[in-house]
């Protein structure tokens, strides 16, 4: 009960944030590169899955981390470039939410996937969100360096998160990582529920 009390307002903020961000590119006052980075940091729908993918990769070891960080970043960049050229018009919010929810479930259960499988999931997530991100940037008429800003932010977040988890060996710390995954699932389920009700 206590957790749902916290999760609901958090999710409300998360849902509200992307809508506001889509109106126009957030202005950092530091040019398009930082605008792009800030756009990603203020898009929780993108961030949660990114963190989940990095946590999952970290739980599966250095090789999984290395492959996932590389695959996720490259696919995000390529799909982002495509998205900026050929913006996606259909509303894929539900798919976006579903993707980070699934990654959250995999983290919560500490699913024993092979490094290649984790990297493939990371690449898929990067491709989907890169495409959506690129399309959003195109809709805001952002400069290409905004995409570069967001992709470098993706790289830094994925790299630091995965590397923070890889050395974690003690049980309680791994449980803490899994709990983080369960929170991502909770937020995802709430967002899906609201999407189904047409709130978002």
């Amino acid at each position: 009960m206590k957790r749902s009390n916290i999760v609901a307002p958090v999710a409300a903020v998360l849902l509200a944030a992307p809508a506001a961000a889509q109106a126009h590119l957030v202005n950092s006052g530091l040019g398009p590169f930082y605008d792009g980075a800030l756009h990603l940091l203020l898009s929780p729908g993108d961030l949660l899955g990114l963190v989940a993918a990095a946590l999952l990769a970290g739980l599966r070891g250095a090789r999984a981390g290395r492959l996932t960080v590389t695959a996720l970043t490259i696919s995000w960049l390529l799909a982002g470039m495509i998205g900026m050229r050929l913006p996606v018009t259909p509303d894929l919010t539900w798919l976006s939410v579903l993707s980070f929810l699934i990654l959250g479930v995999l983290v919560a259960f500490d699913t024993r996937l092979s490094p290649l499988a984790v990297a493939a999931l990371g690449a898929l997530y990067g491709a989907l969100h890169g495409l959506l991100n690129g399309s959003a940037l195109a809709a805001m008429r952002a400069a290409p360096s905004a995409l570069l800003g967001s992709v470098l932010t993706v790289l830094v977040i994925a790299l630091l998160t995965a590397a923070a988890v890889v050395p974690v060996r003690v049980l309680w710390a791994r449980v803490a990582v899994r709990v983080a995954g369960s929170w991502i699932v909770a937020v995802g389920m709430l967002m899906l529920g609201w999407l189904a009700q047409g709130v978002a």
Partner: protein, 334 residues
């Protein structure tokens, strides 16, 4: 060898950031709006719009509609800015609460200093940022509000200064050992703080174009030193990086000073502005160093590896970028 490879990844990360359009040149000077009371209801308005990447600044000055312009506004073209001057009559005489707007500023990376001086001798100043391109004129601000504004200004200034960051990255690659790293970064900090203070307080002035060219030269200088490090060779810079950091730090301090204009600033506010701007610069620099060290550690943990021929890339890339900027900025001097 592993260490070299890890720095390659970080260098490419930064260099790719360096090639992002306007971030490249770090030439954006702040704008300045001066409002000087001439009579009970009369004010002189001076708007200094800096040249923005070689072009007239896209931001305009929009005064409140009830301010009536007296006589003809004038425009003087200076080498680094356009100086707009006009005299206005303000009904009632008080400008407090009036809103001055800068349409177009939101699409730039320029900050604008607004300075107000009244007949009773009172002075006030504020900073307008692209994120909120208007100024609500008011009396003196509490010290903590002014402190916050100058802190953010310093922080943003270092984030926009890819040339300064690239120099710091070059130092990080050259330096060996934690103690030497602390010594080198401290030397750079002390040096640029000295010249930042000297320039801001008006004791010395270095013209922008040769200064920018010299800063670019400091980056070019580090390129061959990085290659030397990776070849296992030694040099004065490699043995005593803190000396070089101090020397070039003096130069970079003059560059930081370009982000802080004290023209027309209330005298009492100058020390506070200088201190907080410098702290903002240091926080930004420290954040960059920490981020780079964290990225370095992360690449080690994840055991990243790549072909050996890429080992020399950062040295050549930093050197090439330094050379490009040096030539570009030297050409701009003439």
């Amino acid at each position: 060898m592993t260490q070299r490879r890890l720095w390659i990844a970080i260098s490419w990360l930064i260099l790719s950031f360096g090639f992002c359009g306007p971030v490249l040149a770090h030439e954006s000077q702040p704008g300045l709006l001066e409002l000087r009371q001439l009579g009970p209801e009369r004010y002189e308005v001076i708007w200094r719009a800096p040249i923005y990447y070689g072009r007239p600044h896209p931001a305009e000055l929009q005064l409140p509609p009830d301010w009536l312009t007296v006589g003809e506004p004038t425009l003087r073209q200076l080498p680094d800015s356009a100086l707009h001057r006009r005299v206005v009559d303000v009904a009632g005489g008080s400008i407090d609460g009036s809103v001055v707007r800068f349409p177009g500023l939101e699409a730039t990376i320029t900050d604008v200093f607004v300075r107000i001086s009244r007949l009773d001798g009172s002075e006030a100043s504020l900073v307008v940022r692209p994120t909120q391109p208007y100024a609500e004129l008011r009396g003196e601000r509490p010290w903590y509000v002014a402190s916050g504004e100058y802190l953010v200004l310093g922080f943003n200034h270092i984030l926009m200064g890819i040339d300064h960051l690239l120099f710091v990255l070059g130092l990080l690659i050259i330096v060996r050992g934690r103690r030497m790293l602390i010594k080198t970064i401290t030397a750079f900090t002390v040096a640029h703080s000295i010249t930042l203070a000297v320039a801001t307080l008006g004791y010395a002035h270095v013209p922008g174009p040769p200064l920018n060219a010299a800063i670019a030269l400091s980056i070019l200088y580090l390129g061959p030193e990085i290659v030397r490090v990776w070849r296992g060779e030694t040099s004065f810079t490699i043995r005593h990086p803190w000396v070089v950091a101090f020397g070039f730090g003096l130069l970079h301090g003059f560059g930081f000073a370009s982000g802080l204009s004290t023209v027309g600033m209330p005298k009492a506010e100058i020390p506070l502005a200088l201190l907080m701007f410098n702290i903002g610069v240091e926080i930004g620099q420290l954040a960059f160093v920490i981020l780079m060290l964290l990225a370095y550690r992360s690449l080690r943990v994840l055991e990243f590896r790549w072909p050996r021929w890429l080992d020399f890339a950062p040295g050549y890339a930093i050197g090439s970028l330094g050379a490009y900027w040096t030539i570009q900025r030297a050409v701009m001097m003439f």
